[in-house]
């Protein structure tokens, strides 16, 4: 059974913006799928539709074999936003425990899981710190721990490392892959960065704007486990070039003659 099954999904916002048009996408268990595309291509919208945070105008979304709404109510997915969205008044432990409290876990079970999660994201010494005492990268790790704390089958990530510097981002990319391998969950990952998408994913979904649609789906055949050395392999660069070409194909009409885009600058 697929983890996510999207068929014929379109979204038109009340202002008349056609954010998504006839999206079909199936995601299998254990996959790491990145959605990449320029601003306005609807990738974050698509992610939110998977999480039933917004409703599609047309089409159906099935998560874990049930309608997206049911899946949300059953807490089948964890979500990580671009900002960590931690609660200032809660310590790191208490932030991680939030979904567990809401799910009615007892204190003892919560404490055990918090320890596991702190270990997973390597924040053991920070259990009693408050969010504002942590760096941006650490805060985002807390947010990941919170999303994974209740063992969701699906992890939705909306540009989780977009606000971080390049070095922190690469380190967190490596950590995320380790976490993904260990937890065995399925990940849907929205990003602006070609290198990040290629490095992390088993599949990259390239989207184009106006209206948002899928222009291509590229399987990433880089061997697992991926390490810092993966970023230097010729195959990595080939795939990066391929994703970039597909991106420009989709956005051809507004391309500048000098071919400078943020994605290229980042590499």
């Amino acid at each position: 059974m697929s983890v996510v099954d999207i068929s014929g999904v379109s979204k038109t916002f009340s202002g008349g913006t056609n954010a998504l048009q006839s999206i079909d996408l199936t995601i299998e268990p254990g996959e790491f799928v990145s959605l990449i595309g320029p601003s306005g291509c609807g990738k974050s919208t698509l992610l939110r539709i998977m999480g039933d945070l917004i409703e599609p105008s047309a089409g159906a979304v099935v998560v874990n074999g049930k309608p997206a709404r049911r899946a949300r109510i059953d807490r089948d997915y964890g979500i990580v936003f671009q900002d960590p969205v931690l609660y200032d008044w809660r310590t790191v432990s208490k932030n991680i425990a939030l979904p567990l409290e809401l799910a009615g876990w007892d204190r003892k079970r919560r404490a055990a899981r918090i320890r596991e999660m702190l270990d997973l994201v390597e924040l053991d010494g920070f259990a009693n710190h408050h969010p504002w005492q942590l760096s941006g990268g650490m805060q985002q790790r807390v947010s990941i721990a919170r999303a994974l704390s209740f063992d969701p089958a699906l992890l939705l990530m909306d540009e989780p490392f977009g606000a971080l510097d390049e070095m922190t981002r690469e380190r967190l990319n490596n950590q995320l892959l380790e976490i993904w391998t260990r937890s065995g969950s399925t990940v849907v990952f929205v990003t602006h960065s070609i290198a990040e998408a290629v490095f992390l994913s088993t599949r990259v979904v390239v989207m184009s704007p106006r209206p948002g649609r899928i222009s291509s789906v590229l399987p990433i055949d880089l061997p697992q486990p991926r390490t810092a050395a993966t970023r230097e392999e010729p195959r990595f660069f080939e795939l990066v070039t391929k994703v970039r070409d597909d991106l420009h194909l989709g956005a051809d009409f507004d391309r500048q003659p000098e071919r400078s885009s943020p994605e290229e600058a980042r590499l």
Binding site: R72, F81, V85, D88, W89, L98, E101, H130
Partner: protein
Amino acid sequence: MKRGTGRVAVFIVVLGSLWGLWEGYRSLWSHQGWTWPFVVDNTTMPHIYDIFAALGRPSQTGGPLLGSLLWHSALFTAKEAAVGFALGAVVGFALGVLLAHSKLAQRGLLPYVVASQTVPILAIAPIVVIYLGSLQVTAWVSVAVIAAYLTFFPVTISTLRGLTSADRRALELMRSYATGPWQILWKLRVPSALPYIFTALKVSATASVVGAIIGEAPSSIQNGLGGEIVVFNQYYTLDPTKLWATNIVAAVLGITFFLVVVVAEKLVVRRAPEHVA
């Protein structure tokens, strides 16, 4: 420790300066014979040491010391104000929650909540006293209700504002956990609202003391600070220091209420330093 010493030093310096200003103004005006904006003498501006000395003299011939009398009056007024403050805070908070959760209630009730504060407390107080008195309620409880009347309004407005201040993405996160409105209220909205609510409680804390003092007059309560103020007002030209001393005691009571709220805020609100109001 060092910071504590610094604070005490600032407090003493400011207090000393105020004392100096008062006495300096007094001596300058009386030596020069200036009469603008008012004549300065022992009636209009008694010496500060006279005011404090009054606390150590009998309040009337054969009576208790003024200090001891005011101490007991202050305790009595504090009881009224504290009960009123608690009542007003609870009602104000509950009303804020109601208004935050229903646009209909907000549209229907908010104008009257605002209107309630435009009516002078002096006009409301006798009505409260007469009404509650007819229900055989003890007089001081009426005064507490009057204090609550002044307390609830800032709390309602700030609770409403605070509850709706919760971060949009934090709400989205709660939605992703399929959280019900009740849990969203207690786990997200109320904690987000606490800094706003405490700001309101600081305003309300002093307002409740004022409310209690004002409420004592129409309730004919003699044993609170309000009662003393009425009496000493009548004898002002005879001995102004008694009224001044009472005012100082009332101010100290208000400041005490304020400080209690400040301490409670420090204990309750855990927030990034830049967010603390």
